[in-house]
């Protein structure tokens, strides 16, 4: 149990008691519940989990969840970085309003977000009807899922990239210009490398968030098994259908994904810190 002298002072009255309290709180609120899922999920052993996962509905749900989240994450990475770039480097009248708007998905309940999307793109609306007729249905179809995920996770990449962009010295870009570099060259060779860790971190966060998403997807997707049923909605169905073991088994898979992504972020952060210090 080491603390630097200054840190011991700065901790103020938060000594051993606080530490114990914090640990217990996390233990009971986070660790034990997650452990319960793992315990119940493995009730049938590893075979049980495998069995639950390869059932057609579950397998499709997992695959659907993962690829829609991945596709959306890539789109978000590009558009999120572009948005951060515009907001930081090229403010225009109204950009402050737009910057505020970017944070909207953080504040809005996911259920309400789903409702908004259905209201806009639902088959009974003008826009939705037109799109369905032209073969691009949004609501009750996969595009709807991707759109919902895009809405929900949009701020994550922007918020991750913005502070790093602000730190960047614009003189470096000017220097590149005087050395003859075209704008794209400057972007790829001078701007992108320093912000890449932030882009990656934001993208991973957004992927993790998307895999877990329930409220908006359950409204928008229509939950058609084998077509638009995602893993969280599948789990919900199994819980409501009083099949907690199956629900827990599939949950274990999602949990593994979440933990894996968390570790990936930590490793990324370490690498980033190490390079800064180098």
């Amino acid at each position: 149990m080491k603390r630097t002298f200054g840190a011991a002072i700065a901790a103020g009255p938060m000594g051993l008691g606080a530490r114990v309290g914090v640990v217990l709180y996390l233990l009971f609120l986070v660790l034990i519940p997650l452990a319960a899922i793992v315990e119940r999920g493995f009730a049938g052993g590893v075979g049980g989990i495998w069995h639950a996962v390869v059932s057609p509905m579950a397998a499709h749900a997992l695959v659907l969840t993962l690829w829609t989240a991945a596709l959306m994450a890539v789109v978000n990475a590009v558009m999120g970085t572009a948005t951060a770039w515009i907001l930081v480097r090229h403010p225009f009248p109204g950009s402050r309003f737009l910057a505020t708007l970017v944070d909207l998905p953080f504040a809005i309940p996911t259920l309400v977000a789903g409702i908004m999307l259905v209201t806009l793109f639902g088959p009974q609306t003008a826009l939705g009807g037109w799109l369905t007729v032209h073969g691009v249905p949004i609501v009750f179809a996969t595009p709807g899922i991707i759109l919902a995920l895009l809405f929900i996770t949009m701020p994550l990449v922007v918020r991750a990239v913005e502070p790093v962009l602000i730190e960047l010295d614009p003189a470096e870009e000017e220097a590149a210009a005087t050395l003859g570099a075209k704008p794209w060259t400057t972007f790829f060779r001078v701007v992108l490398p320093p912000i890449l860790p932030a882009v990656a971190s934001g993208t991973i966060q957004c992927f993790a968030r998307a895999v877990a998403e329930f409220g908006s997807v359950v409204v928008v997707s229509g939950n058609i098994p084998g077509k638009t049923l995602t893993a969280p909605v599948y789990i919900f169905g199994e819980v409501e259908g009083d099949r907690p073991v199956v629900a827990a088994a599939v949950s274990v898979v999602l949990l593994l994904v979440a933990v894996g992504l968390l570790l990936a972020t930590r490793v990324l952060q370490q690498q980033f810190v190490r390079r800064e210090r180098a």
């Binding site: 200054g6 103020g12 709180y25 986070v30 209201t119 806009l120 819980v239 949950s251």
Partner: protein, 276 residues
């Protein structure tokens, strides 16, 4: 021969990018918001109001607000304590605990509901204890509280941790040298410094609490008047085809979110001003 290019502040490429970003944001964010407002107008404010004044709607809203306040207070205090413990202490397992406190952000709400159902429901680990205490967690208010606390855990913690890390220990050391006691240091040096971060984290906590759906649905069961929060009210109303009620509540929650958003922006501005 040199290719003559315009030395405008914004090249053609930048303008294209600008337009692309604006269109993207407008389409993704403004249009859905606008569509909902249009729908609300179509349904008519009158009928919305009437639905919202019904007792179950009022109770649902109350419940959401109470849960949000509880989450703000409890996880606010946790955020401060854990922030200090994770940033200023060094002990075995600190990093693991820090990572654990990030988990709620990636755990699906349905899994949260399932987890607590497993623990507190039939056949659960804590069932015998609850029986003895005649205390009900599942399909009751306490369950809602626990679910909300889980999903809102990281917000205040992350904001406070960040600020504590950035500020360093010097001010507290200076206070100590001047004779301050640990509590004095906390109240007069640490707390004022994290005030803004705390407010920001609490605002995010409230927003998340009001928006929680999956976990409270599973754990609470959306029993009208008892465990029906704002979001689960909307869900039930939609299933019962009571459009006015659903849209009304959705509007209320949307308006609340926008207000919270404005608070967040105001706090950001304060932060920027103080940093100068």
């Amino acid at each position: 021969m040199h290719r003559v290019s315009r030395a405008k502040r914004w090249g053609r490429g930048t303008t294209v990018l600008l337009v692309a970003v604006i269109v993207y944001l407008a389409a993704l964010l403004l249009l859905p918001l606008g569509a909902m407002v249009a729908q609300v107008v179509r349904t008519g404010f009158g009928s919305l109001f009437r639905e919202l004044l019904a007792p179950d709607a009022v109770r649902a809203l109350e419940l959401s607000i109470i849960l949000a306040v509880i989450a703000a207070i409890v996880n606010g205090i946790f955020g401060i304590a854990a922030g200090i413990v994770f940033v200023r202490h060094r002990f075995l397992g600190r990093r693991v605990l820090d990572a654990l406190s990030d988990m709620p952000l990636s755990v699906s709400p349905v899994m949260v509901g399932l987890a607590f159902l497993l623990i507190f429901g039939r056949g659960g680990w804590f069932e015998p204890v609850l029986q003895i205490l005649h205390f009900k967690v599942t399909f009751a208010f306490p369950g809602l509280v626990i679910a909300t606390l889980f999903v809102t855990l990281p917000f205040t913690l992350r904001e406070v941790s960040y600020v504590l890390l950035e500020l360093g220990e010097e001010e507290e050391e200076a206070a100590a040298i001047l004779g301050a006691s640990p509590w004095q240091i906390f109240w007069r040096v640490t707390l004022p410094n994290i005030k803004n971060a705390l407010a920001y984290g609490v605002t995010l906590t409230v927003a998340r609490a009001l928006g929680e759906f999956g976990a409270v649905l599973i754990l609470g069961g959306a029993i009208s008047g008892k465990t029906q929060t704002g979001t689960t009210f909307i869900n039930v109303a939609m299933e019962e085809r009571r459009e006015a009620a659903a849209y009304g509540m959705a509007l209320v929650l949307a308006v609340a979110s926008v207000l919270l958003l404005l608070v967040l922006e105001a706090l950001k501005k304060v932060e920027i001003k103080e940093a100068d």
